[in-house]
Amino acid sequence: MAILTYRDALNAALREEMRRDPDVFLMGEEVGVYQGAYKVSRGLLEEFGPVRVVDTPITELGFAGVGVGAAMAGLRPVIEFMTWNFALLAIDQLINSAAKMRYMSGGQVGVPAVFRGPGGAALQLGAQHSQAFESYYAHIPGLKVVMPATPADAKGLLKSAIRDDDPVVFIEGEMLYNTKGEVPEGEYAIPLGQADVKHSGGDVTIVCHSKTVSVALKAAEQLAGEGIEADVVDLRTIRPLDHETVLESVGRTHRCVVAEEGWPFAGVGAQVVDVIQREAFDELDAPVVRVSGADVPMPYNKHLEKAAKVDPGKVVEAVGRVLYR
């Protein structure tokens, strides 16, 4: 096992897949000469050259469309958005072109592209640079949405996303890039659509993804000190959602808290709650409680921003509610 940062794990995945398959190329702003806005693509231009590592003008819509077109021809582009905030400009290409192509063409033309970049908030970046949009893309049939929380998951899932024949929205996190974790040596890939239990327990289920996984684990630690053992379920893939793992956990614990970074209305958590109440109604001893980002644009002030975000205390408090403490 090696210890890698999340960033380096992604870099390794890109490198390995580009070595493995000549049809894989990387395109985006600052991915080449600049070595990547967040250094995820460090060294790739040097190894693979400018045909396969392409710097673009600031034209999210344009180069997302170029990526879709190249994928229609059978290449495997990895299109990097500097952040998913900017990718709003490209959302037409992702939804109206990429997601729909296979269906509209009656199965003839697929789009094996990966669209990746950091999503959600960092620190004091303000309202336009802090948005968690995964539910927008998870809403669309034809897209897959993947959000790894750890370096090991990041590497394994990016490799699978690149190999997948459907368009994959791959959302990382600026605040995750520096985190470190054990990454298996050698070749491995993690299948899409599989959640992962990051901490086992029988008293309460905490469903989470991306940045809320570490929050949930800290909450689990605190809860363990009070004698409550939490089953922390990291979704890893948002679409398709792993119903089985979530339901198996709730079937044992009978109570659930869902934690997510994004806004509450029609967020990913709402879908998780729907699945649980629909499929595990008779297992529930309490309503499922959601913990999400505050329903406001992200404020700049440091304390307001902290209050807007999900933290372990909020998760612990929610667990208290489902335990009727």
């Binding site: 009978h254 008779d282 309490a286």
Partner: protein, 470 residues
């Protein structure tokens, strides 16, 4: 001009006071310096003295209520002077204590004109000593769930219950109407079913068949008549919630600060097990020649211990309790949790009404629960609701040990191995089979002497087994 009487800080550290008893009633003339009421502070029972003269127009706090310092408790003024309507707690309190169901009272403010006429003294059941009146639970008519608190919903009305509670109730044949819900708005949730400690379905109260000659008792449901009720728990009730006295609160607060979540102390005793061993061997010998149920289930030392503990608890109900943060719950029934080691750790299945079961019944049930525990086939109802737990490491050759209390229970008994030791017996040194018991007690519920007396009774029962059936 009416004057407010407030709860005064009668000691430098007092933060709240409990009004034990009004010494002056509404409508009475008081003079400055008269004792208005007795108030229990954090340290002792003090007198609340009137600071003005006049007529005690209103008691705004009823006896038994605890309020923070500076809260208005009464009004003194000129006779017939109009006073702003208070919370009318006094008259309502009297109505409640008269035995009406503690369900939400539909009445608004009670009729003021009646207040001076009816003596609004403390509720009839209250004692004038420092111990407060227990908030008793009355028994509902429903037979399906006999000893349980008054239902929050009438039979036939819709019960709020979690889906899980509904499912388990349906599986167990329980009537949700009889279960008190502790969730929001009275929702019945899993732990309420666990605490309801359901009696088996209506066939249970049927009288026992006359014993057959040489009969072996079949392992039926416990159908012997209920023993004498606990002195603390009123007849027919499942439990009595006793509010904490100021003294208890103080003890709790200070001990928690010094020790941790549960202020635990340990009592150790050693029991001479010779007579238990002899009795057991005699029973096994008696069973051997016959075939049938009895010979399949061998009564073990542990089973005998469970029975002894359960019986001793009947005599020491103060040890058969749960700590509930702001009150103590004394249980009417005895349910013994027995710690079982399973692959992943430890679980404590419960033998309900252990005091009422025969040794064979206990043995059969203990065997079954242990097997199911190891096979991970215990349901929630099987391992919740114990009122007292036992942990036995004797089979692993442990001499003695201290066990950890299972909250919210107030105590746990740790038992070591039975082995020969040289002790004084009849004036000589002899080798006798001895067993060490260590009881861990939650000091917020059980004090040293209380625990010691229980242990003394228990040890006495083990040393003289017939005491169990006296």
């Amino acid at each position: 001009m009416a004057t407010q009487v407030v709860m005064e800080a009668l000691s430098p550290t007092m933060e709240e006071g409990r009004l034990v008893e009004w010494k002056k009633q509404e409508g009475e003339q008081v003079a400055a310096g008269d004792v208005l009421a007795e108030v229990e502070t954090d340290k002792a029972v003090m007198e609340l003295v009137a600071r003005v003269s006049g007529v005690l127009l209103r008691q705004t706090v009823k006896a038994g209520q605890t309020v923070p310092v500076s809260t208005p408790v009464a009004v003194i003024g000129a006779p017939g002077e109009a006073v702003a309507a208070g919370n009318g707690a006094g008259a309502e309190g009297a109505k409640r204590a008269a035995g009406a169901a503690p369900a939400e009272s539909a009445a608004g403010t009670p009729d003021r004109s009646q207040a001076p006429a009816a003596p609004p003294g403390p509720p009839p059941a209250a004692r004038t000593s420092a111990t407060p009146a227990p908030k008793a639970a009355t028994a509902p008519p429903s037979p399906a769930l006999s000893p349980s608190p008054a239902p929050t919903s009438a039979p036939g009305a819709r019960v709020k219950a979690s889906p899980l509670a509904r499912r388990i109730a349906a599986e167990k044949g329980l009537d949700l109407h009889g279960v008190q819900g502790s969730g929001p708005e009275g929702r019945v949730v899993l732990r309420d079913l666990e605490r309801a400690a359901p009696v088996p379905p209506p066939s249970a109260p049927a009288p026992r068949a006359a014993p057959l000659p040489g009969a072996l008792q079949t392992a039926t449901e416990p159908s012997r008549p209920a023993p004498a009720p606990s002195p603390i728990v009123p007849a027919g009730a499942a439990y009595a919630d006793v509010p904490l006295t100021q003294l208890r609160k103080t003890i709790a607060r200070r001990l928690v600060q010094s020790i941790g979540p549960i202020p635990t102390f340990y009592l150790t005793s050693e029991a001479d097990m010779e007579r238990v061993a002899e009795a057991r061997e005699a029973m096994l010998d008696a069973d051997r020649p016959t075939s049938g149920l009895g010979s399949e289930v061998k009564v073990s030392f542990n089973d005998i211990l469970i029975k002894a503990v359960a019986t001793a608890l009947r005599q020491h109900p103060a040890c058969n309790a749960w700590w509930q943060d702001d009150h103590i719950r004394y249980w009417a029934d005895v349910h013994i949790g027995m710690a079982v080691a399973v692959e992943e750790g430890l679980i404590t299945p419960v033998i309900r009404h252990a005091d009422r079961k025969t040794l064979r019944e206990i043995a059969a049930e203990a065997r079954d629960l242990a097997a199911r525990a190891r096979a991970r086939r215990l349901a929630a109802e099987d391992y919740t609701g114990a009122t007292f737990s036992i942990s036995n490491l004797g089979m692993l050759d442990i001499e003695e040990f201290t066990a950890v209390i299972n909250p919210p229970e107030a105590a746990i008994l740790a038992v070591g191995r039975i082995g020969p030791k040289p002790v004084e017996h009849d004036g000589q040194v002899a080798l006798r089979r001895r067993m060490r018991l260590t009881m861990s007690c939650d000091h917020r519920v059980i004090d040293g002497a209380t625990g010691a007396r229980f242990l003394q009774t228990l040890t006495g029962m083990l040393e003289n087994p017939l005491a169990m059936v006296w």
